[in-house]
Symmetry: C2
Subunit: 509 residues, 2 copies
């Protein structure tokens, strides 16, 4: 260590201590939110909102303390920041990014965004229940205006959408993402059409027999453990909408919901959330509370959940391993069902109205609709009043379906009401990254089908841990993908996967 770096290193330690203190508060807030969704007594909601909002204010005040700016100013010119992909450099540059994002927004805008988000969700819920878009329209209008102001305050090179997207997918550019998604769409639409036109259909009734909750839970725990989720440092609980939440480095919590008359829902949610959970459990323990110990983006997070849910969990090899156990667990429902019928049923492709119920292939078309519409709104190329019509048009165009209601149409998702604009494309980016990473991992590790058939998921999990989880935020998402796969973001591996899998299932090859 040179003498010049001495003071720098002391400042770096102060910066890290500060970040770790904020992380203690953030993880506490995360527990409050997990508890709210899983355990909180019905009457406890109002005070819980006060606790969460007080903690959010505390966290924001600490994150924007001028001393952080001073530490960063001092460190950015110093040797610890030179390599932005080193442990120290990644901490400094990412904290700088976070600090700038937090301090660029005027306090009044932060507060109005928060208020509009809370109010927006309430109004959305009512409007959705009443199937009356006009009730929601003024709030959505205001939300779009505020997001335009937010984008302006954050700044952008090309389009305002860049600034919003960047909050969820650091470094991603609208133009690049659009290109990848359009290419994907152009190939997906004919694939889905071919599947529909082909006329083959799995027998879905076998999934709607009686599947007792307790057995589903036991099987879900077993599968999550098999793919490597550590229940010594995690839990599984029940909620309405499945999610994964982290309250500490050894405290990662999955949730799911059980339907006794529909098997896939709970299990694939568990696999999906366990994929998120494996990412969290794979972060470096020695970097807790620092950007080097944090997930890099929503897209990369989703890549992990989709990879385990779809590329692993809906693969034939996976069920060649697990199906005998499944049949044993649910003898009544499955004893007369051949593996092939089960495998086909859990891979049913069918254009539908609701995003969160969509299959692996059509899912991304639901995202395209939202991605294109929210950009148009932000650019004032589409009026909020015209949104329901535009929604129907795009659904007709990409999926060939039309929702009879706005409730199950333009108002089906909570995101826009909560001010989450620029969030949707990260779902498809997740699918795209997942296929890119999976393909690359298989090139390095050898045939996955062989491994999965014998229940060996360890090589894949370890590979993801080393290449995706442990880097934390040291590389931007696209850099990470480039580094690991040697290629930029590309729709091709995903399309190869979908064409191969559904080509076989639907007899298109």
């Amino acid at each position: 260590m040179t003498t010049a770096s001495q003071p720098n290193s002391a400042t770096f330690n102060l910066l890290c201590s500060h970040a770790r203190e904020v992380a203690l508060l953030r993880s506490t807030q995360s527990l409050l939110e997990w508890d709210e969704r899983t355990k909180l007594p019905p009457a406890g909601g109002e005070y819980r909102a006060e606790q969460v909002s007080y903690l959010a204010g505390l966290i924001h005040r600490r994150q924007t303390e001028p001393i952080v700016g001073e530490y960063l100013h001092q460190l950015l010119e110093g040797p610890l920041a030179t390599d932005r992909h080193s442990d120290t450099g990644a901490v400094i540059h990412n904290l700088k990014r976070d600090y700038d994002q937090k301090t660029k927004l005027p306090q009044s805008l932060v507060e109005e965004l928060a208020r509009t988000s809370v109010l927006g969700q309430q109004v959305w819920a009512q409007a959705r229940k009443a199937n009356d878009f006009s009730q929601f329209q003024p709030l959505l209008q205001r939300t779009i205006e505020l997001k335009q102001q937010e984008a302006a305050a954050l700044g952008f090179d090309d389009v305002p959408y860049d600034a919003l997207l960047d909050q969820f997918e650091p470094g991603a550019k609208t133009a690049e993402v659009r290109q990848v998604l359009v290419e994907l769409r152009e190939q997906l639409v004919p694939l889905v059409a071919a599947i529909v036109d082909g006329g083959r259909r799995p027998n879905m009734d076998i999934l709607r027999r009686h599947y007792p909750t307790a057995t589903q839970e036991k099987f879900g725990l077993q599968v999550a453990t098999a793919i490597g989720f550590d229940f010594n440092a995690g839990r599984l609980d029940v909620t309405h909408h499945p999610f994964c939440s982290t309250s500490g480095p050894c405290d990662v919590r999955l949730t799911t919901h059980y339907y006794e008359d529909f098997f896939p829902s709970a299990l694939f949610s568990i696999l999906h959330e366990a994929g998120h959970g494996l990412y969290e459990q794979g972060l470096r323990a020695d970097q807790v509370g620092l950007p080097t110990g944090e997930a890099v983006s929503l897209g990369v997070h989703e890549s992990q959940s989709r990879l385990w849910e779809n590329l692993v969990g809906r693969s034939q090899a996976f069920w060649q391993h697990f199906y005998p156990q499944l049949q044993q667990s649910f003898g009544e429902a499955l004893s007369d069902v051949p593996l092939e019928d089960f495998y086909f049923a859990i891979n049913d492709v069918r254009p539908s109205l609701i995003r969160i119920e969509a299959d692996e292939a059509t899912y991304n078309l639901h995202i395209m609709v939202r991605f294109e519409l929210e950009q148009a709104l932000l650019m004032d190329e589409l009026r909020v009043a015209d949104l329901p019509g535009a929604w129907h048009e795009k659904y007709q165009q990409y999926l060939g379906v039309r929702s009879p209601t706005d409730a199950d149409g333009v108002m089906q998702d909570v995101h826009w009401s909560a001010g989450l604009v620029g969030y949707f494309p990260t779902y498809t980016l997740g699918n795209i990254y997942a296929s890119q990473l999976f393909e690359r991992a298989e090139q390095e590790l050898g045939d996955f089908a062989t491994m999965f058939r014998r229940g060996d998921f360890r090589p894949l999990r370890d590979w993801l841990r080393i290449h995706v989880h442990e880097p934390g935020r040291r590389y931007a998402p696209s850099q990470l993908v480039q580094r690991v796969t040697g290629e930029g973001i590309s729709h091709e591996p995903l399309m190869r996967h979908l064409r191969h899998k559904f080509g076989l299932l639907y007899g298109l090859v």
Copy 2:
């Protein structure tokens, strides 16, 4: 409102806002602790300790902010403080009390107390496991010295024990408590001896049959609901040591533990914790976060739990109502058991070694031992090295039993290792208050046995709500009892209850 009171009222609002913010943090800390004991994954303990201790520091810093002292200084001379039992006066005087207690202790002492408490519990657990008091002795020695320093810093009129007792039972004086407890002991010892000498014994085997956990839980929820606990604003979970915890005004959480081969444990824990829970649920909603919306003392809290557990839950009339349902729920275990045998078995009086397993009558003798020994330690009238011997002597004298080990003797409780000196007498004060309040309530409301036999607990619960819960901290515990019963603290109602109940059961009348 006079013009003079205007600034006072503004200051009062600032003081209340401050207290309410601290309450948001304290209730959050409470949730972290509840979660730690009920849900936290095994590996999550270390980080949880960091979260809790960070929050504790934050709370302490906020509680001791000089601005609070300034608000209080300004308000104490003003009209809002004149009546210390009014809503405003109670807030001001209690916050003054809390502020003084927090600020009187030098930071170095606070930190050493905290360290010694954590270390003490670890060393105690090991020493207890090894049944080796000498391992624990130096830590206990240091704890007593620190408690002496703490008492000196807090200040006291008569004896140092006053200062420590006052932290748990505000306003209680050692001399007064001692007098009541000695009178109780002098009457209890011969009563217990008479029961033992009488030779009657219930058949305890009937409680050790097979009681399935799920049925126990269902029955426990039903009973807690029947006595008025609101599960819309509360929960019941499983832990090792039952407790009641409050994370918000409408979020009161009970815990219990189930033994399939011993019925009373879970149910009476549920009744006990629900008694605590009813107190918390009975606090005034409009005073959340203020002393007027807080429980007044450990003793009064314990009076509520003991009242529902023992005076209600172990009464004959209670089981005249519930026993048919119980027999129906646990047909296999209880179909051949008459109510009288069941009632006798759950009221077995037997001198034993372990406090937390003791019955309604002998329990208070366990407390006497600890109350007398901890005073002697604090006054340097007993050396820590001589504590195990003194323990045996007193157990022989009051209960006629001698523990074969120190593990189940002087090291059976966690309290001293955690620095909780002055805490034990609140358990017996709870029993004493419970009987005083219960007797008074019955004078006002009419025969409880008649009500309980028809499952009507509402009049008692409402009476406690009005007279005990809703006052919050407006009166010191002894003032509260005086106000409600018209009498000072007295052992007589408790002795009347015990003599009557056990006189009938053991044929002493």
